[in-house]
Symmetry: C2
Subunit: 242 residues, 2 copies
């Protein structure tokens, strides 16, 4: 049974749930291209870059690859993509700069007001596959105001490995039932729920662009389905028994 | 050579450097005593409680004791002290409540304005022997506004073990020379400096009460000695080459 009063901490998936990585990256590449007189299909590049995410992370999860941070996975994936976009002339420093675009992503419009309100009632922080330094810089850039920050390199595991969810609760000194995972992705909530963590689904129907087909709807018995983080705050705070 | 421009993150010792644990705990015990009609020499109790800190942490550092968090060490030390203060009748829940006094300590008066200013120029966060959940609650209670939070249970090591300083830098994605340790305790700065981290000493001459004899003065070639965190901000920001 769901009791909002029991919840002490909200754990947020970040890429897609909190920040609009796709349009932020396309913007960043477009500006970069203009300043360097480079042209390419930046949307394609960004979409293909993100597509490399699952397979490369899976290699780490299956121990085919030693522990590697998301920044490192991003960089390696980008290097592979560059020739197809005729950008193979970029120097190592340039590639570092492009990889760091992931540290400066814009939050969806509801995020800052929603988090500000939730923060008065709960501990809030990310539980993301990003590495710690990426999450720290993103927090500062996007003004998220997290109470705490986890990075996958603290656990040396990627979601949906159990270690991420369970060690996060343990470090917070909480039982899983005292935490709620907030995500735009059903797989993440499936995993969290299987460990006894509460769940809130926030659809982000254009995260992957206008033709997104995945995660448009809740696909499990989630405790809360909310339109966005402001709606989540309303549901968690106003509907809370006193 | 010390170059302020190189520094990206400030790591703060917390108990003593940032928060005035002694007078906060004495106040908390006095209020608790009044509300329960209990009387004891609360200053004595607090001083003896803090004295138990080094030996119990040392048992963990020397692997005589398996990994144990500071909250757990605090609780066990308090249980041992209670009979001498005629408080052995306290229930387990009461002892939990008293242990949690360490989560609600007041910052020194210069801390909030000093950190607010430093935060505009650096990433700021604690590198303390407190456990993660303690540091998260203390941050929220004291309004410190940390950009990131470390807890000793992330490293499963206590300062001055090298793992704490070096893994903190590594998680932040920084070389040691890009970080500065800020502490009221010379031992902490000695360790940090030996790993290549910059150092700032902030004396807190009444941390241990009016008859403190230790850490009244800098005892090493620290990069900065500042009166308090506002003075540290002045020295780091205004004296910075542009």
């Amino acid at each position: 049974m769901f009791r909002a009063n029991e919840i002490k901490a909200l754990l947020f998936d970040t890429f897609g749930t909190v920040v609009d990585w796709r349009s932020s990256l396309i913007d960043a590449f477009s500006h970069y291209g203009q300043s360097r007189q480079l042209d390419a299909d930046w949307s394609q590049l960004v979409d293909q870059w993100r597509s490399a995410y699952w397979p490369s992370m899976d290699n780490v999860r299956k121990r085919k690859l030693a522990w590697t941070t998301l920044d490192e996975l991003h960089r390696a994936a980008l290097v592979k993509l560059l020739p197809a976009f005729k950008l193979e002339q970029l120097a190592a420093d340039d590639i570092d700069d492009l990889t760091a675009f992931w540290h400066r992503l814009k939050p969806w419009p509801d995020v800052r007001p929603g988090l500000a309100r939730l923060k008065n009632h709960f501990l809030i922080g990310p539980l993301s596959n990003g590495n710690f330094s990426l999450m720290v810089e993103l927090n500062k850039f996007a003004g998220l105001g997290w109470d705490f920050i986890f990075g996958a390199d603290i656990f040396r595991h990627y979601k949906p490995d159990p270690e991420t969810y369970l060690e996060a609760c343990s470090l917070l000194g909480l039982r899983p039932a005292q935490a709620m995972m907030v995500a735009a992705h059903n797989y993440d909530l499936h995993a969290a729920q299987s460990f006894g963590i509460h769940t809130a689904f926030i659809p982000r129907p254009v995260e992957y662009g206008p033709s997104q087909t995945k995660d448009l709807r809740p696909e499990g018995p989630w405790d809360i389905v909310a339109d966005d983080l402001e709606d989540l705050a309303r549901q968690l705070i106003e509907d809370r028994p006193r």
